[in-house]
Symmetry: C2
Subunit: 224 residues, 2 copies
């Protein structure tokens, strides 16, 4: 059943929720718009799309040039394919979105989830943010402990590296605190449609001014 890392699948579903796209465009958005994700290669993306289709979560539609393409009998015609989310796919994505298992606190899972926060309920967002925070706090605990145990045996550069690493984590914790804070304050007394409905329903807490998650590159648009 190939439960891929899940992240690519998740992101593809999430992006296609906005609008149908073909693979090429999808890949670009994976690199750029979502700030976070590493650039998946075509070798990864296209096969993944095929399995999503096989699962009934997407359907393939003819890309541009819809007229003459079908007419020309030649089999060699390479088709442009636009992928569209099916209702089942939409449902599946919503399941994934609200399903906050322990994986959801890991770096990339968290970032992927966060990128689609606009489509979730505040309750879920809080769970994810708080889960992420405890995950990081655990990490800090271990780093501190290990540092305490080994400090004297390490040279200055190694020490410096560890310190910078810890500070990065501490910084993210502060960021999370602000986010949690503003989620809490955000729209607390707000009733109305609590469901994460179709297109941007304006649902969004008040966000602070800050940034992200230090994923490697996203760059290299040109998949050399």
């Amino acid at each position: 059943m190939s439960r891929r890392s899940g992240i690519l699948e998740f992101a593809v579903l999430g992006l296609l929720r906005e609008a149908p796209m073909h693979g090429y465009e999808l890949r670009k958005r994976l690199n750029t718009s979502l700030g976070i994700f590493r650039a998946f290669s075509y070798g990864t993306l296209y096969p993944c799309l095929k399995t999503l289709v096989a699962n009934g979560w997407l359907i393939e539609e003819p890309g541009s040039a819809p007229e003459e393409a079908v007419a020309s009998s030649l089999a060699g015609r390479r088709a442009k394919i636009v992928y569209r989310l099916t209702p089942e796919g939409k449902e599946h994505f919503e399941e994934l979105l609200s399903h906050t298992g322990p994986d959801a606190w890991e770096d990339e899972h968290f970032a992927a989830r966060f990128a689609f926060f606009g489509q979730t309920e505040r309750e879920v967002r809080m769970r994810v943010l708080e889960g992420r925070r405890s995950r990081l706090e655990e990490r800090l605990e271990k780093m501190r402990a290990s540092l305490a145990r080994t400090r004297e045996r390490l040279d200055d550069y190694t020490l410096e590296l560890q310190r910078h690493g810890m500070e990065s984590v501490e910084r993210e914790v502060r960021w999370l605190n602000e986010l949690i804070e503003s989620e809490r304050a955000g729209r607390d007394q707000r009733p109305g449609t609590d469901a994460p409905h179709d297109n941007d329903s304006g649902e969004t807490g008040g966000l602070p001014r800050h940034g992200g998650s230090t994923r490697p590159d996203p760059s290299d648009d040109t998949a050399k």
Copy 2:
């Protein structure tokens, strides 16, 4: 010839330079002491050690219990193996250390290198730090460009994520600036042994107070 990611190989060589160790201990140091590295599993580490031995960079030595182990003729005896760097291995490591190809600016490669800065010459350190900095600046350029292109189409959370990501990178650039600064100031007029000699020869520029590189976990000492 299996050029693994290179990082594990590099780190193993570097750690064994300090002292012979067996695989188990090596793995722990990979997780903790070097702050940065993800926890390599035994399934990765042991085979890697074997190929390093095959390359003549390490030799295996009987671990503890050297007396009775050899005496007992039983083949079933599982040996404890201590790995020691050979002169060829040492040479190879030094080659890797000073060989600053474009890979060296990537996240993990950079972190790995930095962790062994204590064993390099200032000249090399400068090259690596500056290379890393331009790498990050390129990245920032692309992020800024992409943000400018797509800003209005993105929701608040995605935007927030991108902002945090950019700030993380900017922060690392500032860190690098400080490091470069202090390398430059460090021991500029210093003559003497310029070679990165055997054990800690006290060679170290003046470092600022800061930290590192946001690698995921290192935790999970207990390889579940």
